[in-house]
């Protein structure tokens, strides 16, 4: 991750921030709602919500990931008829994105160090998984018992694996194809 953080001045405008959050929410919503890859256990499919969360956190930073990750996935829940999960989803994915963003953007001085980059990514994955799967487990436990809530843990871990394995390369590919995005972080 090379760091040319010659900031674009327009990232300071509130209009830009509103616009980026709105678009990122819409992106997260359709990634969660529309793009589903059939797989085996638990939910029966893998959605790309976590991919969007990782992408947003790596590209736009922790705050955008908090809002867009949380509201985007919650909106997808509402649209697909799982509205009762929306408040929980908001926290689970919002904080997940926030943690990933914080870890990825911590100690930017060593941005080019490959080893630190990998450590950072692993930590981000672990933090995201614990937060996201943990939130669903605890809140699910209160709502419908910890036994049933535990059955969702493997699926949620898988979601995070997909999140980091697809989300990170995606962020790199987008940077390569559209370099100005490097200056969009705020």
């Amino acid at each position: 991750m090379s760091d040319q953080e010659q900031k674009n001045t327009f990232t300071r405008f509130s209009a830009f921030r509103i616009a980026s959050l709105a678009i990122l929410i819409a992106v997260t919503t359709i990634f969660t709602y529309l793009i589903r890859i059939p797989t085996a256990p638990t939910r029966g499919y893998l959605n790309l919500g976590d991919v969007a969360v990782f992408f947003t956190a790596i590209t736009f930073g922790p705050f955008s990931a908090l809002i867009a990750g949380g509201l985007g996935t919650a909106l997808a829940d509402i649209i697909s008829g799982y509205a009762q999960w929306a408040p929980i989803t908001f926290f689970a994915h919002g904080i997940q994105g926030f943690i990933v963003g914080l870890i990825i953007f911590a100690h930017r001085k060593n941005a080019d160090n490959l080893r630190i980059g990998i450590v950072r990514l692993v930590l981000a994955f672990l933090g995201a998984t614990i937060i996201m799967a943990g939130t669903y487990f605890v809140t699910g436990g209160f709502m419908y018992g910890f036994g049933a809530a535990a059955t969702e843990i493997p699926g949620n871990i898988l979601q995070n694996v997909a999140g980091v394995l697809i989300g990170y390369p995606l962020a790199l590919a987008v940077r390569k194809a559209y370099p100005p995005v490097l200056t969009y972080k705020w």
């Binding site: 405008f13 209009a15 509103i18 678009i23 529309l34 793009i35 985007g72 009762q84 995606l170 987008v174």
Partner: protein
């Protein structure tokens, strides 16, 4: 175009002030969590089912259950062993699998979860997102948040269109000579990747243009904003306030007794 589970209708719940519905949504959800008595939560549950049945119809009552029944099965199977006590109905060796306590706990969880699902279903089925956003404004959610939501909802159909056309374009560029009968998980991801890149770049490029458009509509100006549309233009809140307080009072009383 799908923007929510909202369906236009004429029922009395449709006509109820969304602010009141929003309040009841939160109120019942919290009540379900803080009430332990099964008889009381059953009452809530029956009340919610009555609201669904009388507004959307009997068929509507099954709709929320449809989305959660696999989980309900898990709850029924996994809860009893963790709550042994009372009369034992089934045991393997020294492990109590099904007991009176276990069954009561399972019932409590199922009623709570189905009830919460029901009230959320009813709310979003009868309340348009526009009305929800106006209500949030009334409850003093900051303008920036509701604006972000409005724009996001305006962009979702656009994104769906974008995703479909990129997928279509990708189909037309595939190498059709290689015949892959079975599409493996890995190939699926490999095919999806360029599509996602393309969708993301187009979305990201839309950000500055959207920001420009916002500023051309005066966003950023330090003048205090006025409001063209507010929720009380459409609903007579005070009239329904009476009904609302009646429900809340009943619920609180039944919880105490």
């Amino acid at each position: 175009m799908i923007t929510s589970t909202y369906q236009n209708g004429n029922s009395y719940i449709h006509k109820t002030d969304p602010r009141m519905k929003l309040f009841l949504l939160v109120f019942f959800t919290v009540s379900f969590f803080i009430t332990d008595s099964i008889s009381v939560t059953s009452l809530y549950f029956l009340f919610i089912m009555f609201l669904i049945g009388s507004s959307i119809g009997i068929k509507g009552m099954a709709a929320p259950v449809k989305t959660i029944y696999p989980l309900l099965i898990f709850v029924a199977l996994l809860t009893p062993p963790f709550h042994p006590g009372g009369t034992v109905y089934l045991r393997i060796g020294s492990h109590i699998l099904v007991s009176n306590n276990g069954i009561m706990e399972t019932l409590r969880l199922i009623i709570r979860f189905t009830g919460i699902t029901g009230i959320f279903f009813l709310f979003f089925r009868t309340t348009s997102i526009d009305d929800l956003i106006l209500s949030l404004r009334w409850f003093h959610v900051p303008f920036t948040i509701t604006l972000i939501l409005t724009i996001a909802i305006r962009y979702i159909p656009h994104m769906i269109y974008l995703y479909t056309s990129v997928t279509d374009a990708h189909k037309l560029r595939k190498n059709w000579n290689s015949k892959e009968e079975k599409i493996s998980f890995k190939t699926r991801i490999k095919n999806l990747f360029p599509v996602l890149v393309s969708v993301l770049i187009q979305s990201i490029k839309a950000i500055p243009t959207l920001a420009m458009s916002l500023e051309l509509k005066g966003f950023g100006s330090k003048r205090p904003r006025s409001r063209y549309m507010t929720i009380h233009q459409y609903y007579s809140f005070p009239l329904q306030l009476f009904l609302l307080s009646a429900i809340v009072l009943t619920v609180i009383l039944s919880a105490i007794l």
